[in-house]
């Protein structure tokens, strides 16, 4: 009688446990997807054109058109690629959570999700920090190397870049929380051959 109660308690508890965490994880992944996708799009469309008068020949001024694009800086290119890959990863994970609950490979589904989440966190952190220091260099310049700051000339470019950076850092914090939750899900997986109640 006591053993039956214990089995019922174990089955009831383990079926109750993932439910509240599943919706929280899904919401966090959706938010992280939006954050990284916003960072990708804003930085990918970051472009500013300025026309300067270079010289005056007689009465006609000679104009030079200068553009600031994100492709000019390898750090920003890496930023766009990293955030794009991260948003694709989040999208695939959301689809896997919603539609492919039965997909499994030798029981390693949770481990693969945890490893992929950790790789994505490292990728986003690399991209965000490289772009952040590059943006700091563009904003303040470097007096020791005689590099002038470019943000006073290209204000919109700098503003959009700053917005994309903030979105990416928000995505990084969300991905860190998601990764920790995936690892916790891996650690408290109920073992099938034990008869004790899972704490």
């Amino acid at each position: 009688m006591a053993l039956q109660n214990e089995d019922k308690l174990e089955v009831g508890y383990s079926s109750l446990q993932p439910k509240p965490k599943k919706w929280v994880l899904l919401m966090l992944r959706l938010l992280a997807f939006f954050a990284t996708a916003a960072a990708t799009v804003v930085m990918g469309l970051n472009k500013e054109t300025k026309t300067l008068v270079v010289a005056t020949v007689g009465t006609t001024p000679i104009k030079a058109t200068l553009t600031a694009k994100f492709q000019h800086t390898p750090a920003f290119v890496f930023f766009v690629i990293a955030n794009g890959l991260a948003s694709i990863h989040n999208l695939v994970m959301i689809m896997g959570d919603l539609c492919g609950q039965k997909l499994d490979y030798k029981g390693l589904r949770l481990a693969m999700i945890a490893i992929l989440d950790m790789m994505t966190v490292a990728l986003i952190s690399g991209g965000a920090s490289a772009a952040a220091f590059m943006a700091e260099l563009g904003k303040n310049g470097n007096s020791h190397a005689r590099w002038n700051s470019i943000c006073d000339k290209y204000k919109t470019f700098c503003d959009h870049g700053g917005g994309a950076l903030i979105a990416s850092f928000a995505g990084l914090i969300l991905m860190l929380i998601i990764s920790v939750m995936s690892i916790i899900k891996l650690l408290i997986k109920p073992k099938p051959d034990s008869t004790t109640v899972v704490p």
Binding site: S129, A130, W147, I150, L176, V180, I183
Partner: protein, 155 residues
């Protein structure tokens, strides 16, 4: 199997500590000066915030690795170690990424922003920074393998 995993993980942690120490030492001792048109042009690692962040990040990761080697003989914190290993990996990836971005600008310059490359005038500084960045990259890769080992130990 768990014993082999722990020994392998500790060997990798020692390698990671060595890599971070090499990175820190080479970055901190890198300074050079050159004479350009009667002006003395000095460079130190502390003139760039990205390199300072690199040194601080490697120092924190190296210190954490030493603590985790000492604590691995107790097996009380084995669940916390996975999460802290992930934080250290993220920190190392972030510092090497930032330092590489600024070093690339220093070596190649940026024609669009009107920034001249610096490495032609101070080659000694650039060589030492290159060695430091290689060591930092090795530390990041080793740490990712350590993370996989820790994850395998708790599976």
């Amino acid at each position: 199997m768990a014993k082999i995993n722990k020994i392998f993980s500790n060997i990798l942690r020692l390698l990671a500590v060595a890599a971070t120490v090499v990175a820190i030492v080479f970055m901190v001792t890198s300074h050079d000066s050159a004479q350009v048109l009667n002006l003395t042009f000095t460079v130190k690692y502390s003139y760039t915030p990205a390199f300072k962040f690199f040194v601080i990040g490697e120092a924190i990761a190296g210190g954490y690795t030493v603590i985790s080697i000492l604590l691995s003989f107790k097996t009380l914190f084995w669940r916390l170690i996975v999460i802290l290993d992930m934080v250290a990996t993220v920190l190392l990836a972030s510092s090497i990424s930032a330092a590489l971005a600024i070093a690339q600008v220093g070596k190649k310059g940026s024609t669009h922003a009107g920034w001249l490359p610096v490495c032609g005038q101070v080659p000694h500084f650039c060589d030492q920074v290159t060695v430091a960045l290689l060591a930092g990259f090795a530390a990041a890769v080793i740490y990712f393998v350590i993370l996989l080992c820790s994850l395998y130990a708790v599976l």
